[in-house]
């Protein structure tokens, strides 16, 4: 089994903008993951992320996405939708991620599969931490990610030893 990167994107200084980062951290806190899975807090980085994307079997991205839906709405986007033009509003960090994927493609080192879990933000104001309504949805987001990891053949090894 090849490697998988679980990449959380977002700016954690802008409330729900950072939902991708909070979500992957939460997955890491709750679950023991197989050694092939690497969890990366990508912040708002661009090309710095290239090494985490190249030559992976799967790239699973979690990010805030403007779906024009109710806060906490989740939707999956496929890699082709991210690379195609005309989707500038797909993700708030779209430019960075798109460049990274395009660069990997140019180097013939694209991940075999790319999926993005988008979450509709509620608040995008200055502040650390999620809005209460997204905070409440976080367990479902974690569940969604873990279910997808399982479906791709990377189920968690078990719950993490509790820290709380």
């Amino acid at each position: 089994m090849g490697r998988l990167t679980l990449l959380g994107l977002g700016n954690i200084l802008l409330t729900d903008e950072g939902v991708g980062v909070w979500a992957v951290r939460e997955v890491q806190r709750r679950w023991r993951l197989p050694p092939e899975v690497e969890v990366v807090d990508g912040g708002t980085a661009g090309l710095d992320l290239l090494p985490y994307v190249e030559e992976r079997d799967w790239l699973l991205v979690v990010d805030a996405v403007e779906f024009q839906r109710e806060p906490g709405f989740m939707g999956w986007l496929a890699g082709e939708e991210l690379l195609a033009g005309g989707t500038a509003q797909a993700s708030l960090h779209h430019l960075g991620l798109r460049e990274v994927l395009a660069a990997a493609q140019l180097l013939d080192r694209s991940p075999q599969g790319v999926l993005l879990l988008g979450i509709q933000p509620h608040l995008l104001t200055t502040g650390v931490g999620l809005s209460p309504c997204l905070e409440a949805r976080l367990p479902e987001v974690v569940q969604e990610i873990v279910a997808r990891l399982g479906a791709l053949g990377y189920p968690p090894l078990g719950p993490a030893e509790s820290e709380d």
């Binding site: 700016n11 954690i12 200084l13 802008l14 903008e17 807090d41 990508g42 912040g43 708002t44 980085a45 661009g46 090309l47 710095d48 992320l49 290239l50 090494p51 690379l83 195609a84 033009g85 500038a88 509003q89 708030l92 960090h93 430019l95 960075g96 460049e99 395009a102 660069a103 493609q105 140019l106 180097l107 995008l124 200055t126 502040g127 650390v128």
Partner: protein
Amino acid sequence: MAKRITIDPITRIEGHLRIDCEIDNGKVINAWSSGQMWRGIEIILQGRDPRDAPTYTQRICGVCTTVHALASVRAIENALKLEVPLNAQYIRNLIIAAHAVHDHIVHFYILSALDWVDITSALKADPRKTAQLAESLSSWHRNHVQEFKAVQDKLKAVVDSGQLGIFANGYWGHPAMKLPPEVNLLAATHYLQALEYQRKANMIVSILGSKTPHVATLVPGGVSCAVNPESPAALNTERLFYIKSIIDDLGDFVRQVYLVDVCAVGAFYADWTKYGAGVTNYLSVPELPMDTKGTVFRLPGGYIKNGDLKTFTPITSYQDDFFREGVKESIKHSWYEGEWTKHPWDETTQPKYTGFQDKGKYSWVKSPCFYDQPAQVGPLANVLCMYAAGHAPTRKYVEQALGLVSKLAGTQVGPEALHSTIGRHAARAIRCAVFMDELQVQWQALVDNIAKGDLAVCTPYPIRPGESRGFGFHEAPRGVLSHWIVIDSNRIKNYQAVVPSTWNACPRNHHDAPGPYEASLVGNPVADPERPLEVLRTVHSFDPCLACAIHLHDPRGRVLTQVRAL
């Protein structure tokens, strides 16, 4: 009648910068630079433990996380009068130099080369002639016909697929594109190689910073990575020699490829040495400290007035009064409450958005000044100050670069050509070569110091009652970065970050004098207002990073638009 164009956003990476230009007779006659997002870091940090600041400030910007952590720990150390052990200085210096090399390579090839290089023209090149040209310029081992042919085939496949991907933003076939097909293919080939080599530089940052993005080892008082030549759990001999092997590998790319390419592109665009000077007050700070107090530096810094190198005034330590007293910020044309000009320690941040007013407030970026004057920061300021200070490696690379440009252009090009749009690219490549040499120097200094048995990496953090003020500066890839902190009983009372893109992208100041972007655009040619490539060239030459000068999100939720001609 003058025509007005608006470019929004102008960065290819994170950050939203809006540039408005009035164009008359094919030339820019007036320009406005406007940051379209608000940065709220100052408010987030108030009331927190100062030790949190390096972690939070790294999130200001997606591209230059490391530099904020560094300026932040230096500000705290300055406030609390902490000395930094030698090992920690050398490790930080290695991180700084590797980050600079990485950042400059990415800027030239990935973020701005497409302003000068026409990928579609590269398809018409003869790979054999390209190889001949390349071999005449440089001894780079990958300049051979097979490599050029392979890249040409790959580009052809990309163009034929209709999915231009990373090249989608280029102005193909624009009349201002002047490179012959062979030079375009040469640059495009090195573009692909740059994607490989920038990674290597970043690996040094991730080893010493424990991860990237968001390095974890920079802490007030030193670094948190233990040094022990024998221990598998510390920075040990094996890791150090691995870093050495990366440094050796990178040097050739910087000296034989990047520096040479910039000279070749510059020689073909020699007319661009006449455009884009703008504000010629240059500010830079000394970098790569070699003692525990920050009074001895490998690289000098200082201030040059009106482009006259003879006016150079050095900045000499982390306690430097000339720097500390000189920095102020004005908000006359920025979307904040009031109309003050204040020292960073005394500032208040109260946002007040009032819409774009040509003669009033029109930007979220504040307007910094140095002794009441706007100043340009960045690699050009850095290189000119080091040159003025007589720094030998800088002089060597400046002469080498200008010599090659002169040979290729068939005319004598002197240092005065550096005050320009293309000069900023040349300065960045020169600075990159200087930092490449410094990687070797810093690596050796670290290894020698460890060999003496010194394993100290951090001074304990003191909790002090009462108020203390500090500032920390860093000569970052985009120029002078300074963080200013007021600590009261181990809580942050005030925090300001005066970042490089604030110096360069600022709006008019309290005297209505334009900022460096604005001044540099006046006089620029614009062949086609619908496709204002020349404006992008000048703005990109500063390496704008507006996620940093302001923030990531547009408070009015406006969708990104590319270019609109009004």
